[in-house]
Amino acid sequence: MSCAGFLQSLACFFSGPMRFKTRISNLPTLSRLAQSLDRIGKFCWIRLMPETVNFVVIPEFKTTQVWAVVEIETVFEDYIVQSNAENVINLEVPTANLYKALRSATNAAHATLRLTKQNNQAILSLSTTWSGRAFGSNIVTHNIAVKVLSHNYVSLVKEPTVPEPNCHIFLPPLNVMKAVVDRYRSMSDRIIFSANMAGELELAICTPAAKIKTRWSNLQNPELDPSQVQDVSQHPSQMREPHEFVEMRLDSREFSNILLVSNVSRKVIACLCEGHALVLYVYITDPEDEHTAVLTYYMSTFLD
């Protein structure tokens, strides 16, 4: 964070009564979400809004970013957020501390998250209640030092724009892919990720020592939603020869880190924008759930 950013965030302290408090109704999901964010980068920008929460991790010097949109009912209840800026609060939170705090709260009877202040330091406080042996209740509180970000600062950060994808496909179960990618990771820095519109996906490595390919078939390709896309028939993915593969080169370590989200993921759609980026939409809720939570991973691809 730059010095200017810090000063702007300080200015935010004096802008009015800011209040955030919520109970965590689905701790396992939130904890696994924090775990997958921890793998991507060290600091997470959390944007708390009245209806949804955004988790954004943009690590330096990496090719991956994650932009997650979580409707509050999926993990929280009795959620309150208030601020002078249309009830939006932006926080920068260290992901490792957040994950460890949430993880230690498993098996707690209740967990509450709130924003407080201690010695002029903004603190995200996780309080959990444990019932003790003698019918007493013990309270464990974790205080994580965070920074409150000003709107001027966050307006500089924008979600990446990518061209229309050449191919989109539903991925097979991520834990299976993860097993394959973990093997590849120790052998090569680059993984070649290819897919086509006929439901086939291929993961390969190509090194002087070995060439390995893993292919999945009979996968689904999602249908384009006419309300979102102007002319479905003119979409690049529809104009391709279905069996023609789109090929991309990804960093194997970062791809492996992304696949750790498999412990919460339900359905994953991969969109391949040839020569540009791979976008993964990871849904951690089922389609029939009333509220949705989705993480969007953007991975830049390599040309070498």
């Binding site: 964070m1 010095c3 810090f6 302290f13 004096f14 009015g16 009564p17 800011m18 209040r19 408090k21 600091f43 920068e92 939170v93 260290p94 501390n97 460890k100 705090a101 230690s104 009877a109 209740h110 509450t112 709130r114 924003l115 407080t116 202040k117 201690q118 010695n119 002029n120 330091q121 903004a122 406080s125 309080s127 209640t129 444990w130 003790g132 042996r133 003698a134 019918f135 007493g136 209740s137 013990n138 309270i139 464990v140 509180t141 974790h142 205080n143 994580i144 030092a145 965070v146 920074k147």
Partner: protein, 475 residues
């Protein structure tokens, strides 16, 4: 000296060594006619641990000292010092894990003894102090399965053991809790945190882990998480605390004490008073108190809170409300008042009549360069049970249950109100919660920013807490 430990106690022995290793790299052995005391003092003299193993702990114990080795002739003692690492390597924990679990040992009857022995890797460990002209060493023999005998020779140095003196009588803060409960709760503390604050508030004990790192403005996010654990008074077997004055100490020694108590499967007792006076954590195991481990730590006042708290507190015992969880009052103190020694070194002092176990009383001041830590001018009888407050003497409280329900405590407190100064804080407002603590209770531990208009420095966390105290003590 020759001693041997059977497989039943080897696991406990290895755990004791492990706990001592967290204090220092070297261990002092003080061997007497009917016990061995292991002691470790850390390099900054801020932590001291001693483990007294009585004759009952050993399968065989023979004390035939070579007169050249003795220190003092009134009570024959041999005092040596060895490195801990070789001992830890010998008594590797995994050798004893499955074999001599305390539960198994208790359940086994004499007939099952041979059956149990079959599962045991090491059947016996024996120690022998060899003092020949050419080789002086401590010989350790592990008799293992299949007739294998492993022999280790460890060199030692003859040097006087340190002693710390601790005055349990003047500790007005004490508590006793099941170690597993405490261990599970302090698992929540992060690995990187170094300091521990103990504070009593509203019938709860608050432990906070803290690290004072110099944090540059830009790296404020690199600060480790600060974790507070608030334990309900009901969880304690016995607790008597004064509100209002928190103390700070190193987390490492505390964790070692709690892990050891949990490994031995017994309760842990704590005694402390005001900041700058040491704190004692005591672990006792065995029907005849065969194993008594005491860990003494220097304490200081927590930096944020100290000036205001101690100034407001006035009297050293603190003016905050006192609260109890058992019927025992503070009157039962039979400790003989002994003089406080502030001398530096191992100066043997005349044995006091109550102490038949200790000869040299060397006061090692727990002093550091920091002026806020004063020297440890404390008196102790680390071994003798009768005169101390903590022991649950059967005579006193035969009818007293260990776990108290709400009904019990309220009536007790009303009864004991007359004797004590009464400002309990538990009278009108009940903080005994059976289910999820309500909003107000959580508010006590968090500075809700709703209450400050501007996120400004006026409403500080520590001032908030004291505000609650003044409400409870002022009735």
């Amino acid at each position: 000296m020759e001693a041997s430990i059977s497989y039943l106690n080897l696991r406990d022995f290895s755990k004791v060594l492990l706990a001592l290793s967290k204090i220092d790299d070297a261990v002092h052995w003080q061997m007497k006619r009917n016990q061995i005391t292991l002691a470790a003092l850390n390099s900054s003299k801020s932590g001291f641990a001693t483990a007294c193993l009585r004759q009952g702990f050993f399968e065989k114990y023979v004390f035939r000292p070579d007169p050249l080795q003795l220190t003092g002739f009134a009570n024959e003692t041999i005092e040596i010092k060895t490195q801990l690492r070789p001992l830890l390597a010998i008594f590797k924990n995994k050798l004893f894990e499955s074999s001599s679990h305390p539960a198994n040992a208790v359940a086994a009857s004499v007939d099952d003894d041979t059956a149990m022995k079959r599962n045991v890797t090491v059947e016996q460990a024996s120690f022998k102090l060899v003092t020949g002209r050419h080789n002086c060493n401590l010989t350790v023999k592990l008799s293992c399965k299949h007739g294998i005998v492993k022999t280790f020779r460890i060199s030692y140095e003859q040097i006087e053991s340190p002693h710390a003196m601790f005055d349990k009588a003047n500790c007005h803060n004490t508590w006793t809790i099941n170690s597993k409960v405490l261990r599970d709760l302090i698992e929540h503390f992060g690995q990187r945190t170094e300091e521990l604050y103990l504070e009593a508030a509203n019938d709860r004990l608050l432990l906070t882990s803290f690290t004072e790192e110099v944090v540059h403005n830009n790296d404020v996010l690199k600060q480790p998480t600060q974790t507070s654990v608030s334990i309900d008074g009901k969880e304690f077997e016995h607790v008597a605390l004064t509100q209002g004055v928190p103390i700070a100490m190193s987390l490492r020694e505390f964790r070692a004490a709690v892990s050891l108590a949990d490994a031995l499967g017994v309760d842990i007792n704590a005694y402390y008073s005001t900041p700058n006076n040491p704190a004692l954590f005591e672990i006792v195991k065995g029907p005849q108190q065969d194993v008594v481990v005491q860990i003494i730590e220097a304490t200081i006042a927590p930096p944020d809170v100290n000036s205001k708290a101690t100034a407001a507190a006035g009297a050293p015992t603190g003016t905050g409300a006192r609260w109890y969880r058992s019927a025992r009052t503070d009157g039962v103190l039979q400790q003989a008042a002994t003089s406080r020694l502030t001398s530096m070194l191992s100066v043997p002092s005349p044995a006091r009549p109550e102490l038949n176990a200790i000869t040299a009383a060397a006061a090692e001041p727990l002093a550091a360069a920091d002026t806020s830590i004063t020297s440890a001018d404390i008196d102790a009888m680390p071994v003798e049970p009768e005169a101390s407050v903590s022991w649950r003497s059967q005579s006193d409280n035969a009818a007293e249950p260990l776990f108290q329900s709400i009904l019990f405590t309220n009536s007790e407190q009303q009864g004991s109100n007359d004797e004590n100064r009464g400002s309990q804080g538990g009278g009108s407002i009940s903080y005994y919660v059976d289910e999820m603590p309500n909003e107000e209770e959580l508010e006590a531990f968090a500075d809700d920013i709703d209450q400050d208009e501007e996120f400004g420095p006026t409403q500080r966390q520590d001032l908030q807490i004291h505000g609650i105290f003044s409400q409870s003590t002022q009735r």
